[in-house]
Amino acid sequence: MRLRPDAQDIFAGVMFIAFAAFMLHLTFESLPIGTARRMGSGYMPMLTFGILGALGVAILLGGLFSGPQPIGRFAWRDMGLILLALTVYGLTVERLGFVVSLVLCIGIASLAEKVWKPLRVLGLIAFMLVLCWVLFIWYLDIRIPVFPWSR
């Protein structure tokens, strides 16, 4: 067999091996394994991550010959903005309330648009404020501070 590395498989293999190794390390460090008859809390983790590690090795080795499938380009900007918008929501919802966090979340997420149109974004924010207020606060009555001062 000729060496034809496949970036996708190699990356996946390494990822599974690293995850399994890390979790196995934690398992042996902190959890009692027990015996097959009386399993400790570490027995199932040992089995699971042991198997995962073996599968990772199989994927990695197979990936040396199954190529080539390049890993596509990462849309770092889009991904970063979406994940940032969510994180900001999580950080602000309790402190600043529903209204501010919604505006921030949609505002940040909208930056991922190809052409950023401020009026469109404002309109969307206004619409979503009303919709989410009616649905979540008024109808579902979730416990969430609405304004920065309402807690």
């Binding site: 097959a36 809390s41 995962l52 918008a85 929501y89 997420a109 979540f136």
Partner: protein
């Protein structure tokens, strides 16, 4: 069976449950019709709405959302050539061609009629098979159960798209993630890093929403927006006599095939609609029309995927084993409601079991009512541009996830799984097996422990018990079969719609 069904209808026909079914089907259609959102994403998005409800109402609503989302996906496929998920890829082949030929009306009508017929038939099957399988399952010991779950996991990994080893690895990784939290038997904290929120384990809903909802948004954003809005008007939302004659047999065949495939682990909508389409194309008298707008090519797969959507509830309701990602979501929802799905459910929660079955039938009727007369509204929803859509989905996810436990931690978990879901898509690792493994992991551990305790630590028990041995043998055969190149090629072709 009849008295049970009547009992089911009395449960399903209460005002609360009827409206849950209706609202579920309506919301499911509304969100499923939005381009680029498949049933899994729709259900995880709407999951938080059901938490305040009693279990029966919640599961009826989720089931309604599921059919609605699936049906909504067909509408998008027919009118815009934009399949929301794999199972509706097939519908685009002939459905979109019909729409281009000015036959959008009949295409939508046959999809609705086929789905309705298939749904009704499959519901009867669920009602008949459910109690039977439950009786079988109750005779299972812990070892048999463990082997059954293993078989279910392996078959669903084997049947999913792409590399089998990667699917199995994703599933095992999912089982591993399911171990995070407090060990039920010993009370010990596992992999919690002293984070109090992790002692209850990783949240199921944040994980699903991240991997299927958020990752999907990022993937859609990176693709250039190609939309062919439909110009033709939709006329005549019904079939002519000639068309009825042409679709009757395909609907029957699609229903039969879909019902069988749906029961299999890993089966479900995608595989059944592809199977039905391939079968029809091979035996139809109008072979030459396939791919150019053959009404049979819409009728068969649409019937099949709806039949499969119903019958995939069978393993869930009787064995507690989710056959696919949607059913994994249902298990998650039930567990959040404090119900452990499994063979005891039918006796312990008869209202849930029979009520759900009756509501499946009602839900299918509602789908026809919702979809055909209101098609104009759905068409307008189809045209919502994505730059207005994705921030809305994102904020829904954010508020929904936060409201699960009124805790920002779940939002951060969603962020992490959003990133992972996107990464997985880049390296060809399917996320569905991970979700199934995550749901089944804790149950597998429990059965493994009990089996080994009973067998005094002798692992031979899995081979000595005939039921368990048979199930394990099937699992081995499934893996072996998929490593044979000829079969693998066949599967890849089927999943590629070839």
């Amino acid at each position: 069976m009849l008295e049970h069904l009547i009992y089911g209808f009395t449960v399903a026909a209460t005002f609360q449950n009827l409206s849950a079914c209706f609202v579920g089907a309506l919301l499911g259609t509304a969100i499923g019709v939005l381009p680029g959102i498949g049933p899994v994403a729709t259900i995880s998005l709407l999951l938080p709405l059901t938490f305040g409800m009693p279990p029966t109402t919640a599961i009826i609503m989720l089931a309604g959302i599921y059919y609605g989302a699936q049906y909504g996906g067909s509408t998008t496929s027919i009118l815009m050539n934009l399949p929301g998920e794999v199972s509706s890829v097939i519908t685009t082949l002939d459905g979109y061609q019909m729409a281009k030929n000015g036959q959008a009306g009949p295409a939508l009508a046959v999809a609705a009629i086929g789905s309705f017929f298939a749904g009704c038939t499959a519901t009867v099957l669920v009602a008949a098979l459910g109690p039977l399988l439950t009786a079988v399952a109750l005779s299972f010991g812990p070892a048999d159960y463990f082997s059954l779950m293993l078989l279910g996991l392996i078959v669903s990994a084997v049947l999913s798209e792409g590399n089998v080893v990667k699917s199995i690895a994703m599933m095992v990784a999912g089982v591993g993630l399911g171990l995070v939290g407090t060990d039920v038997q010993t009370g010990q904290q596992r992999f919690t890093f002293n984070i109090p929120e992790l002692s209850d384990g990783i949240g199921f809903a944040p994980m699903a929403m991240g991997m299927f909802g958020i990752a999907e948004i990022i993937r859609n954003l990176e693709m250039p927006e190609v939309r062919e809005a439909l110009k033709t008007k939709i006329s005549r939302l019904w079939l002519t006599k000639e068309e009825w004659r042409r679709v009757a047999a395909p609907i029957l065949r699609g229903t039969t095939l879909g019902s069988v495939v749906g029961i299999l682990p890993g089966g479900g909508a995608a595989l059944s609609s592809m199977g039905a389409y391939t079968l029809e194309r091979r035996i139809s008298r109008n072979k030459h029309l396939f791919g150019k707008g053959a009404i049979e090519g819409v009728a068969a797969p649409e019937s099949a995927n709806n039949a499969a959507a119903q019958t995939s509830f069978i393993p869930l309701l009787t064995l507690g084993i989710p056959a696919n990602a949607v059913m994994a979501l249902m298990v998650g929802a039930l567990i959040i409601q404090g119900i452990q799905p499994g063979p005891r459910m039918i006796e312990a929660q008869p209202d849930l079991f029979w009520g759900l079955i009756a509501s499946m039938w009602i839900g299918n009727l509602m789908l026809v009512i919702i979809n055909l007369p209101m098609i104009g509204m759905w068409v307008r929803l189809l045209k919502v541009p994505y730059d207005l859509l994705y921030p809305a989905i994102l904020i829904f996810c954010a508020i929904g996830v936060y409201s699960l436990q009124n805790n920002s931690f779940d939002v951060y978990v969603t962020v992490v799984f959003g990133f992972l879901g996107y990464l997985f898509s880049k390296i060809g690792c399917p996320p569905a097996p991970m979700l199934i493994g995550f749901v089944l992991g804790p149950m597998m551990e429990e059965h493994l422990r009990r089996a080994m305790l009973l067998a005094r630590g002798n692992p031979m028990v899995f081979i000595e018990r005939p039921i368990s041995a048979t199930l394990l043998a099937l699992a081995v055969i499934a893996v072996a079969a998929m490593t044979l190149p000829s079969i693998r090629r066949g599967k890849d072709q089927a999943l590629a719609g070839g």
